[in-house]
Subunit: 308 residues, 2 copies
């Protein structure tokens, strides 16, 4: 059997070197994200798993630009959570509104580039973004080298690409599982179909997970053939209902004492799901790391979701 | 001028040795609490301070007892937040209800001791509790040795006694400031009067800070004379309004991404207060640590407080 997850440098838009370079570049601006272990969550999981949670608190792009004195224009869909917009402004970013669809976002971004001469930094479909996100694995595995599995939210695929590239470079045997909301399950459908599936619409509370796989993450530099990403780097996709996401979010608040948005809590929802726990393929996952990212919560909306 | 804050072993119910012993004893059961630094909070403070926040996530007594197979009876006032009661039960504690006043709590505790032969562990008026809480300073100063000031919530005085004892043993020059809600400001009043003041009632959202200074923390083994605690260990008391507490709690959620209860956020409220920032006495505090403890939040109540 050919080893799954072997990572070579030329194949993808990012690799362990570009990820380590990103780590060095950002090291003076960021704080090392703590890994949280929870006895209580382990009890909830009937003591099966040793659970390590990496809480990602990435320095916002706006802040990074501000620290270097560069203007940052952030294209934001009109239906973005208020708190995300406020965070962009707080860190000095200039908000450019778009309609809440991918086409309008790309059109607005193109317009901004033309008018300002700015350089595009795509939120996931960009080797630099993927390299930066790969630093999560470096931090996580430095603090919890015993992990045999990492669960990562999937949306555009940038986060999981970076995490998988770095993790499998360090430990080729490590399993990378994607967690995806049922109402935006294009990755699961793409995996089943063996080609990129783009959904006509999405319906999930996890607003950060409504994007679709990009060509870099799914069918261009990052892969040999369409959706090779899954073959190479992602061992499986676990889909979860919004209700389970909200329940996982509540556990994060009540047990881990960590503020995460729905998109950020989905990895915990996946670990707690029957799909994961009863699947014989994951029976020997005994040291599971979960990437919780991010933490932009509208407190009013949060309350509404807990009340449902 | 006599050096303030010199700590000798015999004087108090706890000291740096008992605190280090506590640390060793609990080391296999707890996880090191991460210190969080925040650029954004520093920006809010106009770049004056370097801010380190110690997020306390103490293993609950119930859990400690459960791990050792000992029954734990926890006397809980009827008006305690639902989540605290649920946490006690989750960790295997047996809840004994009392009326919401100190007298009834002590009566119920005495009754339980008589009926069960249990041993009393007072929530703050006990050298063992104080030693355990002192481990917070060990963790904090190991991770942020540059601190010149630590701000700690004050209620019964156990937490601040432990933190101050350990911190001043390690660095006698370190300043210890107490943060107290305006509606339960017995420590500030006691300090001003030079004797213990007990309030007829308290009125604050910070339910964890409604207790009064105990005799150990204020006038018995821990002190030479009444309220010597303040002379020896606490450099000042900063009182804050509930509104400022809620605002600080919101900042913890939105910026630090940490779940704290109102009592836990009060130290941040104190740092942000004009009383602290405009006081010439604290002008040279340039590396401030804040103890955020604890994180028992009723999510429904939280939402209500943010909406006000």
């Amino acid at each position: 059997m050919e080893a799954k997850g072997q990572v070579t440098a030329e194949k993808y838009a990012a690799d362990i070197s570009s990820i380590r370079e990103a780590q060095v570049r950002i090291s003076s601006f960021i704080h090392r994200t703590p890994v949280i272990s929870s006895e209580t969550l382990m009890l909830l999981l009937e003591g099966i798993y040793s659970l390590n949670v990496n809480v990602s608190r990435k320095a916002a792009l706006s802040l990074a630009a501000k620290l270097r004195g560069i203007p940052a224009y952030i294209v934001v869909p009109k239906n973005a959570p208020k708190c995300k917009v406020e965070n962009v402004k707080r860190y000095g970013g200039r908000v450019i509104w778009s309609e809440p669809n991918l086409r309008s976002r790309e059109d607005m971004a193109t317009k901004v580039l033309q008018e300002t001469g700015a350089v595009l930094l795509h939120p996931y479909n960009d080797g630099r973004t993927i390299s930066g996100q790969g630093t999560i694995s470096l931090e996580l595995l430095e603090q919890a080298p015993q992990l045999d599995t990492i669960i990562v939210p999937i949306s555009g695929g940038g986060l999981i690409s970076g995490v998988a590239l770095a993790a499998k470079s360090i430990n080729p045997a490590i399993r990378i599982l994607a967690a995806e909301p049922m109402g935006a399950n294009d990755a699961a459908q793409s995996k089943a179909a063996g080609r990129i599936i783009t959904l006509p619409e999405t319906n999930t509370i996890a607003d950060g997970l409504r994007a679709f796989l990009g060509d870099l993450t799914c069918n261009c530099q990052l892969v040999v053939k369409n959706c090779q990403l899954f073959e190479d780097l992602v061992d499986d996709v676990i889909t979860v209902e919004d209700k389970a996401i909200v329940e996982a979010m509540r556990l994060c608040y009540e047990i881990l004492k960590v503020v995460v948005e729905p998109s950020g809590a989905i990895g915990l929802a996946a670990v707690l799901s029957d799909d994961f726990r009863n699947n014989p393929a994951w029976k020997d996952c005994s040291n599971v790391g979960i990437v919780l990212s991010g933490g932009n919560v509208d407190l009013d909306v949060l309350w509404g979701s807990f009340r449902k």
